[in-house]
């Protein structure tokens, strides 16, 4: 790690930033899960038919992100080989101790939902193929080959039920990640009851945004056109959730400033100094204002399809950066000032190394590789 540039007084153990880039990535990936799952549930539970083209993809995306949500933590832990202590010897006074259970529960729900949604495909593929491939799909379908109308109807009912449990679970999972930070009274930049809600809303925003961008790219690669109603609807939801998200983010800041507690002097210096680019410029000015206006135009005016898609995609890319910047500003920002409130340190991630940029990029790419592999096994675009 590069030597930290300090200013003012820090407690001597605070010079090095402990929670690194990977701890920024962890809530970011977890957030993408929540958003993608909500989109899939809007179709499966709330019957938003216009989202059908991305419903299966959204579910697979949620599952893929979920599979890798914990990996940044494992790379960060001092003793990853003891990671399961959190489930075997949990201490329930700790907000962190519930993570293993909440995560596992949610993973099971999403895996089950995927199985039920893709069951007819598994059965079809098992019937159509021969040899090892046939065996593979038969095992995947757990030997259940009943695809009668009655069976499919039951599948649909179960899927709806799972999605209905999945929504609160997704909210709990991500609200919980926010609580991990929001409940730490030692840190005035983190300690706010708004934190879980802000995390949840930004999670949904990033999840919808990643679907829009991926959907557009995949359709382009497949030489197909983007479904107009689906895109319009996704942009509308993105706009709505983002309005709530950015309002809460601003509310949090305004409350802190207006209350003007002892810590405000340090926090205002942090915002005006070390976080000026990532917080003021990136998170608010560039990546909030522009998408807010663009998505407003997309949602309120009737535009040419290509213009609408372009605005939607640009907004989504900016919002993906906005949420990443927000995670950075929370996680890293909270460690840049001393708990003595008298000084600041700095952080610049290394490129190589266990917690470096390269590892972060590889970990972030893994869910997309997983989506590709799943598509090879259970093509989720075929039926549209």
């Amino acid at each position: 790690m590069l030597e930290a540039v300090t200013q003012g007084f820090l407690y001597p153990n605070e010079v090095e930033v402990l929670w690194s880039l990977l701890i920024v990535l962890y809530p970011y990936i977890t957030g993408l899960v929540a958003g993608a799952f909500i989109v899939s549930s809007l179709y499966h539970v709330f019957g938003r038919e216009e989202l059908k083209p991305v419903a299966r993809f959204a579910l697979v995306a949620a599952f893929s992100f979920l599979l890798f949500a914990c990996t940044p933590l494992l790379f960060h832990l001092g003793h990853p080989e003891r990671a399961f202590n959190i489930m075997f010897t949990p201490k329930f006074t700790s907000a962190m101790s519930g993570f293993g259970y909440i995560y596992t529960f949610y993973l099971i729900i999403v895996a089950l939902e995927i199985w039920f949604v893709f069951r007819p495909d598994m059965v079809r593929l098992a019937r159509e193929s021969i040899g090892l491939k046939k065996l593979f799909y038969s095992v995947l379908s757990l030997g259940v080959f009943d695809v009668s109308e009655k069976a499919l109807h039951l599948d649909h009912k179960i899927t709806t039920f799972l999605a209905a449990i999945g929504i609160p679970s997704a909210c709990v999972l991500h609200g919980y990640v926010g609580f991990l930070f929001g409940s730490l009274k030692s840190n005035p930049w983190w300690s706010t009851p708004l934190m879980p809600v802000v995390f949840l809303m930004s999670a949904i925003v990033s999840g919808i945004a990643v679907l829009i961008v991926s959907y557009a790219i995949i359709m382009k690669l497949r030489g197909k056109t983007v479904d107009s109603g689906c895109m319009q609807s996704l942009c509308g939801y993105l706009w709505g959730f983002f309005i709530v998200d950015v309002t809460l983010e601003l509310l949090e800041l305004i409350s802190m400033g207006y209350e003007g507690e002892e810590s405000w002097a340090a926090i205002s210096q942090l915002i005006g100094g070390r976080l000026q680019f990532s917080y003021v410029v990136l998170q608010f000015i560039v990546c909030s204002t522009i998408p807010m206006v663009m998505l407003g135009i997309v949602s309120l005016w009737k535009l040419k399809e290509s213009t609408r898609n372009m605005l939607g995609i640009i907004s989504s890319v900016l919002l993906l950066i906005q949420v990443l910047a927000m995670r950075w500003n929370v996680v890293i920002g909270g460690q840049l000032f001393s708990k003595s409130l008298r000084g600041f340190t700095s952080y610049m991630p290394q490129f190589f190394g266990r917690e470096g940029l390269l590892v972060a990029l590889i970990l972030f790419a893994m869910p997309f590789v997983t989506m590709y592999i799943i598509n090879r096994i259970l093509p989720y675009w075929e039926k549209e």
């Binding site: 007084f9 929670w19 001092g78 006074t93 907000a95 009274k185 030692s186 409130l341």
Partner: protein, 248 residues
């Protein structure tokens, strides 16, 4: 099964489930003053720092490093120097934790007051670090000492973030949380913590709060004392004599 019996079983089930949830939820919240009563009947350790006495020599920091093999860039204890000028500007420093003491100040303005404040783990009664450790590796002994089980700690760093005093760090070789133990290994043999032993001016005192004849208990009874960041609700057992409002 008749209806009455079924109703009884159902109600008992709900009651058990309800009480289970209630107990687990209540254990999630810290109980003010609860831990003061836990611990053995005869021993509850406490630490007193007299800031009026400290001369900033840094012998305590050096002794602690030697006794506990503390890595060079981290500190289980350190000393801060406060310089407050006539226009109320506060200068604070602690070069290398003051392991080599302090050089003359470079502050040019008129100095109103100046003093040294030794810092260490506060071994809080309602320790935030104990509350947040997800695996129970950080715990409080029956004598009120907060320790880390390095064989169980996963090295997540949550306790480091939760400590409002900056008293914890992740040990670079062991990759687990580390901090002041009040030299528990010495104390259990009837010795004093290393920093207390080497302090030439008795700015650091350690003893049994439950023994009314101990010096720490007497000072707590007779002097005006303060604790660091009382607003966090952590109830420290490291007490300060002569604590200035600028000290955090």
């Amino acid at each position: 099964m008749n209806a009455d019996r079924r109703k009884f079983i159902k109600q008992t089930g709900w009651t058990l489930l309800g009480s289970g949830i209630l107990v687990s939820v209540s254990s999630f919240f810290p109980a003010a003053g609860r831990a003061m009563q836990k611990g053995s009947a005869h021993e509850l350790y406490g630490f007193i720092v007299n800031t009026n006495r400290c001369i900033g020599c840094g012998k305590c920091v050096e002794a602690c490093k030697t006794e506990n093999h503390v890595p060079e860039e981290f500190f289980r204890t350190w000393v801060e120097r406060y310089i407050i000028t006539a226009d109320d500007t506060v200068y604070v420093d602690s070069p290398h934790g003051a392991v080599h003491g302090f050089k003359d100040t470079e502050v040019k303005e008129k100095i109103e007051k100046s003093f040294f404040v030794p810092k260490l783990c506060n071994h809080c009664t309602e320790a935030n670090c104990v509350q947040v450790c997800p695996v129970g590796a950080t715990y409080t002994t029956k004598e009120g000492v907060v320790l880390v089980d390095e064989k169980h700690c996963v090295g997540c760093g949550y306790c480091v973030q939760a400590c409002p005093y900056g008293a914890r760090y992740i040990h670079p070789e062991r990759r687990t949380a580390d901090k002041c133990t009040w030299c528990y290994h010495r104390v259990k043999k009837g010795l004093m913590p290393a920093c207390v032993v080497v302090c030439p001016v008795e700015a650091r005192l350690f003893g049994n709060l439950k023994d009314p004849e101990s010096r720490v208990a007497r000072i707590l009874r007779e002097e005006r004392i303060g604790v660091l960041k009382p607003e966090t609700g952590n109830s420290p057992k490291t007490f300060y004599v002569g604590l200035d409002k600028e000290v955090r």
